[in-house]
Symmetry: C2
Subunit: 413 residues, 2 copies
Amino acid sequence: MALVGFGTVGREVAKILCERGDGMLRLTHICNRNVERKKQAWVPSDVVWTEDFHAILSSNAEIVVELVGGLTPAEDWVRSALKAGKSVVTANKQLIARDGPELLELANANGCQLEFGASVAGGVPVLPALRTGLCGDRLHGISGILNGTCNYILSRIESARIPFSEALEEAQARGYAEADASEDLDGGDARAKLAILALAGLQVRIAPEDIRARSIRHVEAVDFDYAAQLGCTIRQISRTDLVRETLYAEVGPGLVPASSPFGRVQRNLNLVLTSGQYGGDMAFLGAGAGGDPTAVAVVSDLIFVAEGLSVGKRTPRPLRLASPKVSCDFETPWYLRMVVKDQPGIIAALAAILSEHGLNIDAVLQKPGFDKNALPFVITLEPCRDSQLQPALHEMLVLPFALRPCLSLPMLR
Amino acid sequence: MALVGFGTVGREVAKILCERGDGMLRLTHICNRNVERKKQAWVPSDVVWTEDFHAILSSNAEIVVELVGGLTPAEDWVRSALKAGKSVVTANKQLIARDGPELLELANANGCQLEFGASVAGGVPVLPALRTGLCGDRLHGISGILNGTCNYILSRIESARIPFSEALEEAQARGYAEADASEDLDGGDARAKLAILALAGLQVRIAPEDIRARSIRHVEAVDFDYAAQLGCTIRQISRTDLVRETLYAEVGPGLVPASSPFGRVQRNLNLVLTSGQYGGDMAFLGAGAGGDPTAVAVVSDLIFVAEGLSVGKRTPRPLRLASPKVSCDFETPWYLRMVVKDQPGIIAALAAILSEHGLNIDAVLQKPGFDKNALPFVITLEPCRDSQLQPALHEMLVLPFALRPCLSLPMLR
């Protein structure tokens, strides 16, 4: 087998393979830029180091492990490996989220395998579990805390009541967030993972861009105070629910009960919940990212593929993927947090707008001690659809006392 | 494929298969006693009903699902199916715990598969995860809440502070415990499951009887009061740790932090934690028992085996199982609860015994308000080995003020 991409995960994969030293998985090639600078003394001397992917293609390696990441050139490389009849193991979230269904078909057509267990939630074996232990169920829902950066930041704001910007800087200093963390903060990373989970678990073909993503940037320390009053905390939740022909899906911050599995996930851990027609709910908790857990996922996939190869070419298993309509129109109770310049009549004005749109107020919360010129307060709403709420939020934007757009968070169970 | 045993789980398996209606898994035979009374209108008319297992053996069914349970005649049937080259899917905990390694070798020798994902923790796909997503790691520890009956009883005593006997009756009334619940209460069930997890996850061959099992019968409501003072609750924990050539393993009640994953498992749920050299810790939570979750595990195994069959006979994969020494000599802090007839000098007498055995007292707890003639109080000890503690407990048995044997519980993290 050939390892393409010798960064943190690649090195750890090579290390585990060398330490295992079993006959089934023999590392034959390592492909990377600047191989001279990458060479390691502990890699067996018969491993071929190369900078040229074509050397891998023309080799007799039966499995290619793609750990380059990104779309270019990873996409071309994965396609050409599959076309050459080589099975592929990849941790490439972006590629699988976009082209997973097509690449699975390509693998099928060429009698080889494509596995991507490391592309979501690194060390949490949820994709393998969907493929094996849960494949006998009919799943209808998957939700999770899929982005360790967001979870780190939100749980730091929660525990230290620091501003968002400070929590972000801390996450960057500790290596939990990149310099440009937009993909994490604004939900791009999590929705790609959610698309992959939906593909593997719900057998649906959806584009990540069709999943609405809300940013966590607008969550402030005061929101944790109000959430706590409601027995809740705030997490970035990715969720999807298949109801007949519609796939409800969304990524963004939401209130969750502090005592729920979601509410208890601290730091950069990942949690995935699955709901099945027969088996009910299952939870998977573990390290989402990091070189070592991700490498375990890659090696596990490798063993799975190698065992498959040991019994000969696979008969193509037709993919039966549905292509449901994607909607973010979940029905939930809502948490609305406004920051206003205090004056008489605010509640009346808001209540009038909400009532016009058929929305029922559940509670009004106002913590004492804030500056009256920038007063944060909260209204919670009884369950309604997102599509009912949005027009009301739109009207609230232009209220003269509103200093900022209202932050609306779904309240999840 | 043939279904042998048409009880709760068997019926549900047949139902899921009929509802799936895919070509890969075709139910051809159902074998049970009194088939006439068992027949269901929704089972396709071309399914053969039989009371004779030999009809299955001589049929062309490629997979036999054994859901009879127990050792006789299940053991013979599984062996003869494997010898006839038929793959076997079973939920038979007792059989796999005793003969798993040998049956796996028999399956290998006959080029067929043996899967038992439903034998532990029903709907929690931990065995499939050990086979797939975690197989790239090197696990050294597995622990879990594996017995739903014990967890139901202990969490009921915890929440309602009722006596053990009342919680047991309640569990029996609700169908969570059998009339003779000894296998559950005294740890026999959990240690069989632990032996299977150790086989699949740590690649060791151990006899369930070599795992010490302590009963939960001696845990009382007052122990939850004292545990709460220590920030803990009490659960039946099964745990095993492979340290070089020794497999530490034990099943029994222990104190766990109330805020830990174990402490939060309520009612009859199951939780399994795995610890790996590379991937760190992983948690799996879900419904441990029940017809539907168990049936999902069986059908998932069936799909796995059928996919294997679709690519031809398996090349035998040699089992490389270690046979470590089994020990229960864990090192932990301890919780000792005595019931005494109050009199001066009790603490002094106990402290003297503990000190003679080199045991350090961490805390002495005594809740007010108890009858002085039967006073429960608690001593916690700093970490020591079980083997250091036992002689001290033995000496404490004959103290004149001790009304009952001291209850000793390990304090786990």
